[in-house]
């Protein structure tokens, strides 16, 4: 059974502890960013930010403000399309760790032709992988495989102060997710667990996916 994350967005305060901790653990340098009229910064995933919190705000039909936070990261799909596409071009460019279910890019992704790398990116239903122009490798969340393989939690989970993130064996996390959903539904009838059957990173969303991010859910 693979490892599974639950990301309960109804508990997220967008403190961005996860976003920062991810950078720190992976020792990634800061980008030079600008204020563009949004708190979402950097504006998108990039080779130096494998996880970012996305912000989305709107007025609902009653005229109340809704501000949704979406800590975006690789879903570590149970059947990763990206890996299949990469394998067709360069076998072993991407792997799925059988023990944890982590979907990982390897140094062989540098051997992918530009159009093949593009195809891998386009194949992802969640718009996750990014091409590092320096190393020519594909980059994305690695589930903190170095930590997880020695029994530690991914750094984003470890850092989260509000209980937004839960990490563990799939059979342990699924019941927690379903229980949380049941409770949340009393307040947010539209709430759902995004693509629960297909992914290892399950988002609990309280609102339509468009009100988080266009790629927040596939189905």
């Amino acid at each position: 059974m693979p490892k599974t994350f639950l990301i309960d967005t109804t508990r997220c305060t967008a403190c961005r502890g996860c976003q920062l901790a991810c950078k720190e653990w992976h020792d990634l340098p800061a980008n030079e960013t600008k204020q563009r009229g949004s708190h979402q910064n950097p504006p998108d995933l990039n080779p130096n930010n494998l996880k970012i919190v996305r912000f989305h705000e709107y007025l609902d039909t009653k005229g109340d403000v809704v501000w949704n936070f979406f800590p975006d990261q690789c879903r570590h799909c149970l059947i990763p399309v990206c890996k299949d596409v990469a394998d067709m071009a360069v076998p072993g460019a991407m792997i799925r760790d059988p023990k944890t279910g982590a979907v990982l890019t390897t140094e062989k992704t540098a051997e992918l032709a530009p159009e093949d790398a593009r195809a891998v990116i386009d194949a992802c239903p969640y718009n996750i992988p990014r091409l590092d122009p320096k190393t020519k490798r594909l980059t994305k969340c690695d589930m903190c495989i170095d930590r997880v393989s020695v029994g530690m939690q991914p750094i984003c989970v470890k850092t989260c102060p509000t209980g937004t993130m839960v990490f563990g064996e799939r059979e342990e996390v699924l019941p927690v997710a379903l229980k949380r959903l049941e409770k949340i539904k009393t307040r947010f009838p539209k709430a759902f667990l995004a693509d629960m059957r297909d992914v290892s990173v399950i988002y609990l969303l309280a609102d339509d996916k468009e009100h988080y991010y266009e790629y927040a859910a596939f189905l």
């Binding site: 967008a14 030079e32 204020q35 563009r36 949004s38 705000e57 403000v65 209980g163």
Partner: protein, 808 residues
Amino acid sequence: MTNHWIDIKNSDAVLIIGSNAAEHHPVAFKWIMQAKDNGATLMHVDPKFSRTSARCDFHVPLRSGTDIPFLGGMLNYILENELYFKDYVANYTNAAFVVGKDYDFKDGLFSGYDPATRKYDKSKWAMETGPDGGPVIDPTLQNERCVINLMRRHYSRYTLTNVSDVTGISEENLLKVYEIFCATGKPDKAGTILYALGWTQHTVGVQNIRTSALIQLLLGNIGVAGGGINALRGEPNVQGSTDHALLYHILPGYNAMPSAPWQTLAQYRKANTPATTLKNSVNWWSNRPKYVVSLLKGWFGDEATQENDFCYELLPKIEPGEDYSYMYVMDKMYHGKIRGGFIFGVNPMNSFSNTNKMRAALDKLDWLVCSELHNSETTDNWKRPGVDPKTKKTEVFLLPSAHRIEKEGTISNSGRWLQWFDQAVQPAGEARNFADIYVPLFNTIRALYKAEGGAFPEPILKMHWTDKFVADEWVRRINGFFWADSKVGGKTYKRGQLVPTFGALKDDGSTSSLNWIYTGSYTEEEGNKSKRRNSSQTPMQAAIGLYPNWSWCWPVNRRILYNRASVDLNGKPFNPKKAVIAWENGKWAGDVPDGPWPPMADRENGKLPFIMMKDGHGNFYGPGPADGPFPEHYEPAETPLARHPFSSQISSPVYKYHTSDMDQIAAPADPRYPYVLTTYSLTEHWCGGGETRNVPNLLETEPQLYVEMSHQLAGEKGITNGDGVIVESPRGRVEAIAMVTVRIRPFTIMGKTVHLVGMPFAYGWTTPKCGDSTNRLTVGAYDPNTTIPESKACCVNLYKADKLTEIG
């Protein structure tokens, strides 16, 4: 905090007002989330919809500077609908006390006002006294001058219409909050109020907080689990620095600052030691002489003797009515009356209001000593943009400072817990912690005084000081020692041993303590209790998340203050499921009670719960504050309104301000400055950003100064999201990037549209192209009690920028 972080989870209604808890206390916010998990309603009342609002059940936008009308409306709602907790109010508060005949209130002014000095004669607000000099109490409440009757009359003016008109909150939303929060007036319900600088940084800052005290006393929410008035402290050790009197106005442990009329210790004691006529009032401050003498003993050691008044004469005395707070210091500096000084642990050239004046003031110094992690707008003021360094005479000594993880010591958190932290790494290079700078400096000065003499060497030479700073030694000194062999409860202590509890402190020179409220934190029996990490608890304590063996909390490890008010006259908890203390088999169980005495039903030995008040009762009517015994609404010093519905007194009649050429304040409803500006911090930066702007990963998340505004205002001004904007006040001009958002909305105030904009103050010019101090806009108008500047509300204009020079 009256309570503590974990205790918030016990609340049935959490009112977050004047605080952006989720953004500024992102880790502690989990306890607020737990309250919600347990069924509490979370409400956020704040000018802007923030990350806190997003996690609350609902957000209610209020115009900055109108918290008193909002809360005054709640008081009126409670009193008119008799929603208050009647037994609690009758037994534990001064509702039935009779106010003296000189008290009056007319058209926004209390009796005793002198317009020439902008001060009140507070003696006009005195309570009625009986033949014994004690309070006159009318339990029937028939006397129209009973506190509760005056309070009812005062707040009857805070009608829904008036409150809605001035706050911009719809009547429907007002009622929504009032209904939910006031439902906690029942014995088995509790509501908590969480506030921060959103309340304090106003010309009515103290009264904002006092209004919450009135509400919480009426609803019986003080002393109970899940209740209280909880100041969410920002700086990790701001509680500790308050306790240890970092500011000028008090001595450590909340003792009055010596003043010129009190030249002898006897005079000081007489003026500051209250006496009560009520037999069941503890009147804890009657113990003050023990704490002050022990403090003097801590400072001067064997030099402090009965014969020399324990060296009291060596303490500086302030002039009555003089203000020595930082805003006055900076004003003196601006007028060339200060030649040099030390600025440690603060970045005034970014964080103080009316920063342009601050920067000009600092130019007047001949010399300046700073100790910092990074160069700051203060250390580098002499070469700020737009000035020629050659014209600046100040010689700056910049000492490299250790980071907080590079030292060991204690931090007192919001919940008054004293927590030890270890040194993680050695300071880099030549960096030192402040104590390792100050101790050798003091010793050098001392050696010079010893060798060369001076005008007044005694305070320096007689100080009970140290050669080298060791944190553990000072935690012990703060706790206090015996200076003579003593007996406490049958146990003998030798000279030099630690005092076990403040009950053992004496006013005869046989004990010392650098801060009586911390006595008991480090004992012979249990060692340094700030290091305790033991989660054991009784089932009763477990029911409310109380961990008496984890760290230590002042006073005497009492986790919830005024907890004698959580029980009825027989000592039975009002809410048995969340009992804080309970009288069982002749003794108290649960938290450390406010004193060992039996409950009040014992007419001989029982005691009133509000032990720090002279007469033991919680005070609705408070003749202490400079601006009135009841909180009253006044507009901020700068307001978009020409009038308001409560009186013809627009702004506070007693707020403080300066009158230099750089202290401009716009007149009410000045058409040149039509928009309200409020300022704030944000999760990703630490206060003025002096530290965090130097952390590249943090700067990546929030790189540049922005101004949040509504779509409506942006539309009116032809501004689109991400545009450069110029914001102007009578004091300055600031560049920012427009953040156009639904989270800020126009207010309808007195029938007119009022726009509010918000800006963080975390940016400064020493970080290239990120923008410069927002406080160049904020106003030099101060609360009359604390002199805190009104950083949370002023008036500005703004327009789209043709080009930006501060932001790139």
